[in-house]
Amino acid sequence: MGVTDDRQAEEFTAFVRATGAQLHQAAMLLTGDHHLAEDLTQATYAKVFTRWRRVTAAESPLAYARTTLLNTFLSHRRLRRNGERPRDLSDAEIGPPHAPGADPELRVDLLAALTGLAPLDRAVLLLRYWEDRSVADTAAELGITDSAVRTRARRALLRLRPLIAPVSERNLP
């Protein structure tokens, strides 16, 4: 490697150290699986490295990486053409309580619940609720309409509602 390559490698490594946790967590939201998240994060950073000059010139290199992560995830799902559809939670997705004494009705793990969503629903969830992006921003990022974002966000909320909403609220008539 030349001096420039060495410097790029150093810069890139520092960038991964600084942003890796955030990107990995986003990948966990998208995939719901540790190893798939590791694969997705690594593949994303590999792409980022190939465009390193462009990334460092970007206003927000982290935002660039996050967009790459999302596109990589969605394009991979399209490539697989596996016809994923939202489905109901299974018993196998019911995990242990979050903490001793936790409400047993809250046993279903959030990540397990997310895996029941379509990939695009998960992408909407990531942008709307993890990154606090607006409906319009989310729609623009994903190339779908505002209405589609609202529909998918609503579907995601309905799936997560039993895990997040207070029990008292869920018991209301």
Binding site: F12, G20, A43, F49, L110, A156
Partner: protein, 211 residues
Amino acid sequence: MTDHDPVDRPDRLDRLDTLVGPALRERLRDERPDLEHLAIASLGAGQRMRRRRRVALSGTAAGVAVVAAVSVAAGVLSGPGTAARDDAVASTPTATATVTVPGADPVAPAVPTGPAFPVVVDAPGWTCEYFAIDEKAWCTRGELGVSVVARPRSSYDDWKGSADKEGSALWMSPLHGNYFVTLQGGEDGLSPADLTAFVAGMTFAPHWERP
């Protein structure tokens, strides 16, 4: 769920709107990757991608067309390729590529060079792509997908019995020479019978020549 279902009322969902982000952050707060491993692996994969692009560009300039032909033939132990689960990485194979030179026999394959993936899968209905340079193979059968990941012997003790590692894999092999493999699957889910048949169809090389 109907419009009359009280839990589906817009005001309740609006309230959830504000709770989802914090709940997700709380759930993922302790999810920490091995940053050093991630940096090294990502840098290596990125450098390999760059090299492939340079090779492809120089080949084009020389009038050589590189036809990406991923090895799907069972029985081919040598199948260097690219990254596994990501399309841009994985769909740019270099290992089992066929090089076609104008005037030459268009079907004559290039002599494979580089590393080899140590496992071949010959299970009924499954089709696999081998990405040896990234130490992975990706197998599909209809809507099912399984990733076969080769791992060095030095990682075996970390994996064996670990809830986070072995516990999250579909299956983990015993040691084969200097390596072992894990099967990772997405949310699609294999039945136990599917998994048994898949494992039975795996052939392991005695030694792994790691990329």
